[in-house]
Amino acid sequence: MAAVEVELAGIRLRNPFLLASGIWGESGESLKGAYAAGAAGAVTKSIGAEPRAGYPNPTVESYGTWGMLNAMGLPNPGIGEYPREIGIARDAGVPLIGSVFAGDAEGFAEVARQMAETGVQALELNLSCPHAKGLGSEVGSDPAEVERVVRAVVGAVQIPVFAKITPNTADPVALGLAAERGGAAAVTAINTVRALAIDARLRRAVLAHGLGGLSGPAIKPVGLAVVWQLYEKLRIPVIGVGGISTADDAIEYALAGARAVQVGTAVAFDGVRVFGNLSRQLPARLDALGFPSWAFAVGAAHPPREPSSRSPRGGP
């Protein structure tokens, strides 16, 4: 059976599947539940300095089986309350990646510092929420800002820092390279794709916020493109996310260059048991496709490159 363990910025994961930020990650019990169901670890809900209620409902719209639109508005209990939740998951042994957001580099550094103190293994910077004004996407679409934020956080904490970037950009590689220059240990791609739903009968936008972010199967090709592009140019590992609901989806991300993957919307479609299914099916699917291990599949769809052009990618 193909080995599926992953090493990511020094963190050993029992499989490549992490719970994506914003799904199930607001409470400690849920983070624990995702791990119990089979995930290798969990990214927390994006946490900010203060509690935020998020946008009013409707906050989600679903498109049958191919997609989901949401504008939650970054609800979160605030970094003051959140250590309690982290504690519950940490005590259960869940490998945790603390997601944080803020409006500028200083804000990021401060909330990241507090998040790091809770004992998470790594941080993920949400530089990419497509619908929260002043929080994320504006910062996250300017490479100079991305570099500044990442550098500020890397300077403030002792644990690896991942930068989560937006697909709503002309040039994802510029954002990834900026994160790398800033000292990021990995880049996570992608967040949701800016989108909107209209109800013709009610003559209005469906979500209370208007604009939202598309997730689920429809964005898998979009995420694969970004991961592909990042893998070509970055030396740090890429974490793939967007539309993964089967082991084959995950393998496609690996082939495009993802060292690990995150799963979000599939939890709404299949329940958290999706992590059990994914981790059970992965070895068999790798075997069937002739890959001796997950690590072997990472980047395998890219044409062979000059050995000198980038650092070697070990595995698992």
């Binding site: 989600v60 609800p75 009610l202 209005r204």
Partner: protein, 257 residues
């Protein structure tokens, strides 16, 4: 999934409670809820008080949004997502139903379904005052034995409905107790039923956003009320520290109930 339908009937049930009926074809089971969207305002979870093709929700005036729902007139369009969540198992033979206030809304269709299958239903209904008593007539018409309690004694016993429940549990045998109302009330009902050795099923409420088990807004211990609930065997949740005492606000913070 989501549909927009006109309100086809509006029934004033009590001074503070209105039922809105609408035609929506999905299959729903008693206990399940829908997300009701009042265009331009919020979208709220509401248990189905009628589960057939002509569905209904029975709404009590609370904050601004529920008051807004109350004022919706016949013909106005509302958005409906669902039905979502777990349902009552209507196979039990002798059922004690305990409704506090608008909690009776979700119990009534379950009671009707059970009685249609030959079950015997006794309903203990509580309200602040006689005019606020919900679905007393509906349950009697369906064949239930109904016992009442009001805070001010204007109907049935004076005091909490839990007193009535204790008496009923002593005087008769039941296979199951279904209850929906304030969580402290449900906890007391569970304690009494425990003594009598009768299993209890709760219908509970938590703040809801996605309603599809994704956003974590509705967590209650290890459960997500939108998919694991709202109907739960009491023994899974009654002892959780987050039950009756605390709930999560829209930011996910634990706050006192």
């Amino acid at each position: 999934m989501r549909t927009v339908v006109p309100v086809v009937e509006r029934i004033v049930e009590t001074p503070s409670t209105v039922t809105l009926r609408f035609d929506e074809a999905s299959r729903a089971r008693p206990g399940q809820f829908v997300m009701v969207w009042v265009p331009g305002d919020d979208e709220l979870p509401m248990s189905l008080s009628y589960v057939g093709a002509r569905k209904g929700v029975t709404v009590k005036a609370m904050g601004a949004t529920s008051r807004g729902i109350l004022e919706i007139s016949v013909g106005a369009p509302i958005g409906i997502r669902g039905p979502y969540g777990t349902a009552f198992d209507v196979g039990a033979r002798r059922i004690l139903l305990v409704g506090g206030g608008s909690g009776t809304a979700v119990l009534a269709p379950a009671a009707e379904a059970a009685m249609a299958r030959g079950s015997r239903v006794t309903a203990a209904l509580g309200a602040t005052t006689a005019t606020e008593m919900l679905f007393e007539g509906r349950l009697r018409t369906a064949g239930a034995t109904v016992e009442l309690a009001t805070d001010d004694g204007t109907a049935g016993e004076r005091g909490y409905v839990t007193g009535v429940v204790e008496r009923l549990l002593r005087s008769d045998r039941y296979d199951v107790v279904w209850t929906c109302g304030p969580e402290v009330m449900m906890q007391k009902v569970a304690a009494a039923a425990d003594l009598a050795g009768v299993p209890v099923v709760f219908s509970v409420e938590r703040h809801m956003k996605c309603a599809v088990g994704m956003c974590d807004a509705c967590t209650l211990g290890p459960y997500h009320v939108c998919v694991d609930g709202p109907v739960f065997p009491a023994d899974r949740i009654a002892a959780l520290p987050e039950f009756a005492h605390r709930k999560r606000d829209p930011s996910g913070r634990l706050v006192p109930t």
